[in-house]
């Protein structure tokens, strides 16, 4: 016991440790909450990593061949063999092709004019029509592009040596242009904010509803330490989730680990400060769990959509791009992707890290102030 007297931990530390212990026990004992915090993000990453594939292929295509020549059939075979378009059968006329678009049986119709083979052989100009279902702009862009590129190549086969520009592309980081290595780090960022913000907001509102927060408030513990103790387990859970998701991403989806992972660790810590801070802030603004949940939801959903995780920020209109500068998810997804895929280090992403730190400090500070005021 003499050792304890020599180095007695400060009172604040004891209080803090007690709250952490209580929170850990409470969280671990509720198996369903543990499931939601740990297993659900993992499951979602795996399912969504497979589901979100922007790589367009196998676009169902019907062909109206008015030519019926060998040459025409050869062109169709070559175009459909590429994999972007999938053969969905023949139709007698362009009108029947349109009908197939209406019914959703096909997303593209290829119309070969009469005498196409003869015209091509004779070097006369010919016109091929492609009718696209434009409902999904991404898909129609890719399908139309494939047809234009193929017939452009066919046309140039016959042409003589003309001056042209040969552009050879070299794709960095993700040469086969696969979606999962890009989307999985983004999904992790999204799941992390959903889990930490909403669970914190609702957890605190629940304590307020049940009155247990007031009970603890009459004990000698300081509000700041109470708060710190409540947040700590979630920081660890957040780190654990990131570790789990990055591991799953690497093993299952081939996410490369090109950068120094300490960058990701620092970014995660700063990011969690923001997401937990927002959760805390929401709980101080709501009077019950339902409001907390809706508030958390109203933050997380727009934040996820306006972060550049699913669609590029540059594709947004100017005023909306400015809003994204206020979004911690924006900075975290940039750091995570640049770090994992491109090997970016502190010297590359320090502006994003500074932004995350400023946000974290501001939001967490504001939340702590409000929390103390409500408890006092």
């Amino acid at each position: 016991m003499s050792a304890a007297r020599e180095r007695r931990p400060s009172r604040a530390l004891v209080q803090y440790a007690a709250v952490v212990r209580k929170e850990v026990l409470q969280t671990v004992r509720d198996r369903r909450v543990m499931f939601m915090l740990v297993f659900a993000p993992f499951l979602q990453t795996v399912v969504l990593g497979f589901a979100v594939d922007f790589d367009v292929d196998r676009v169902p295509t019907v062909v109206a061949d008015h030519d019926q020549s060998r040459e025409g059939r050869e062109r169709i075979r070559e175009l459909l063999a590429d994999g972007t378009l999938r053969d969905a059968g023949r139709v007698p006329s362009a009108e029947d092709g349109s009908e197939a678009l209406d019914r959703g049986k096909a997303a593209a119709v290829l119309v070969l004019p009469p005498r196409l083979g003869a015209d091509l052989a004779a070097g006369r100009p010919a016109e091929v029509q492609v009718v696209l279902d434009g409902t999904d702009p991404n898909r129609s862009n890719v399908a139309g592009g494939a047809a234009v590129r193929y017939f452009g190549e066919v046309a140039s086969r016959g042409a003589g040596p003309a001056p042209r520009v040969l552009l050879s592309p070299r794709v960095y980081y993700n040469p086969s242009l696969k979606t999962p290595p890009y989307i999985v780090p983004g999904i992790s960022a999204m799941l992390l904010v959903v889990v930490t913000t909403i669970v914190t907001a609702m957890g605190l509102s629940r304590e307020r509803e049940q009155g247990t927060l007031e009970q603890v408030a009459v004990t000698p513990i300081r509000p700041t330490w109470l708060l710190a103790g409540k947040i700590t387990p979630f920081v660890f859970i957040g780190f654990f989730d990131v570790l789990l998701l990055v591991t799953a991403g690497t093993w299952i989806f081939g996410v490369p680990l090109r950068g120094d992972l300490s960058v990701l660790a620092v970014a995660t810590l700063l990011y969690l400060l923001s997401t937990l801070g927002v959760g805390l802030l929401i709980s101080t603004l709501s009077s019950n769990q339902q409001q907390s949940f809706l508030g958390g939801f109203l933050f997380t959903l727009p934040a996820a959509l306006l972060s550049g995780i699913l669609t590029p920020i540059e594709a947004m209109p100017g005023w909306m791009r400015w809003i994204t500068y206020l979004n911690p998810l924006r900075y975290f997804q940039i750091v995570a992707r640049a770090n994992l895929m491109k090997g970016a280090g502190f010297s590359d992403v320090w502006p994003e890290l500074v932004a995350l730190a400023v946000f974290g400090a501001a939001i967490f500070g504001a939340a702590t102030l409000r929390f103390r005021k409500r408890l006092a």
Binding site: V33, F50, A51, G134, A162, A315, D348
Partner: protein, 380 residues
């Protein structure tokens, strides 16, 4: 006045009373009602303006080693187009750094000897370094760059008097959404998404709240039957959901010119069948989960993300691997997204929408039956 004739009236009366109580709950919570009606509009703006893959002015670095008139013409062909915007000069090291920092998405490299090759009548060779991390953007960059290089080649050929018109022309017609606007694609999907979220989560929360506070047991002590409680709780949210659907479709038509080519009645009918299933799912979640915290997480897990990502709203279902396509066939949002796109964009009628309605109806029946069954068990 036999008991038999009285029973349906009493039943309706009790359901109406339960519904009235629930409406009061909703009304007394102005924040919740504001959220339920403001959230659709906020999300509509975000999706309509913000969720787009269509990039203009992609930052392009240029590394010109040739430094001739011809090479400058080539880089100008890129940077003067709407698709690319100049991001300054670059070299091999700085290309990598620019990608890592996100200041450029592609770098055009014009090697020495480009103009000499052209003047000899040989093809001019150039290289395009592309940041492939984001595959959608990279694909767009590659397609656009190809088109620009082709056009530049034609311009050079025309200046030389070579044959300019290619003998084979491809004419592309894009139907339903010729300007390829994301909003037209997104709004029907968004309607399904919003309905899924608010119906599942609000029901799950309200019912779980009653369990948590113990007021459900009080309700059981009243003469109202289980079925009447369930129906009474669901009816107001059904109404709220239909209002949300109308709000999104009308706002989409006004703000984003999303067409309403088919019957509005069919839109409402599809929404109604879909909502029944979603409310049933919310009820099931709340019966299985004991408290609001678990109910929301389970509701999120089972409705929010699948409706966003497995419904075909953002990513076409056809592109998914087979097991996920199978999984998506039990996500009712998939059928509503398909039905709404057919009705709104293509103007299709019941003749081609019925399989979707049938699938949603089937889901609703199964899930409501399960929920009522578990509900009975839970209180027994």
């Amino acid at each position: 006045m036999t008991a038999g004739r009285n029973r349906p009236r009493l039943f309706l009366l009790r359901v109406a009373a339960m519904a009235g109580k629930e409406v009061l709950h909703i009304e007394r919570d102005p924040r919740a009602i504001a959220l339920a009606l403001v959230m659709p509009l906020v999300l509509l703006l975000i999706f309509g303006y913000g969720v787009s893959f269509d990039l203009d002015h992609v930052p392009l670095g240029v590394w010109d080693l040739d430094r001739t008139e011809a090479s400058r013409r080539l880089s100008l062909a890129f940077t003067a187009s709407n698709e690319f915007a100049p991001a300054g000069a670059a070299d091999a090291d700085r290309a990598d750094q620019a990608f890592r920092r996100g200041t450029a998405r592609a770098v055009l490299v014009v090697p020495r000897g480009y103009s000499k090759a052209l003047s000899r009548g040989e093809p001019g060779r150039a290289e395009l370094l592309v940041d492939g991390a984001d595959p959608v953007t990279a694909n767009q960059v590659l397609t656009e760059a190809d088109a620009i290089a082709l056009a530049e080649g034609r311009r050079l050929a025309a200046g030389r008097g070579a044959a300019t018109s290619p003998p084979l022309e491809v004419k592309v017609w894009t139907r339903y959404n010729p300007e390829a606007r994301s909003a037209v694609f997104m709004v029907p999907g968004l309607a399904a998404y919003l309905l899924a979220i608010s119906a599942v989560l609000l029901t799950a929360l309200t019912v779980a709240g009653e369990w948590e506070r113990g007021s459900m047991e009080q309700l059981f002590a009243s003469p109202v039957s289980r079925l009447e409680i369930v129906l009474g709780k669901l009816v107001p949210y059904l109404g709220l959901g239909l209002v949300q659907l109308l709000l999104v479709v009308v706002a989409g038509a006004v703000v984003f010119d999303v067409p309403v080519r088919g019957s509005p009645l069919l839109v409402l009918a599809s929404g109604f069948v879909f909502l029944l299933g979603m409310l049933g799912q919310g009820l099931l979640v709340s019966v299985l989960a004991k408290n609001q915290l678990v109910a929301t997480q389970a509701g999120t897990l089972s409705s929010l993300l699948p409706s966003l990502l497995l419904s075909g709203m953002l990513v076409p279902v056809d592109n998914m691997p087979a097991p996920l396509r199978l999984l998506s066939s039990v996500v009712p949002a998939r059928y509503l997204v398909d039905a709404l796109r057919q009705i709104l964009l293509k103007g299709n009628g019941i003749g081609s929408v019925w399989p979707d309605l049938l699938a949603m109806g089937l889901f609703a029946v199964v899930v409501l039956a399960l929920a009522t069954f578990r509900f009975e068990r839970r209180i027994a």
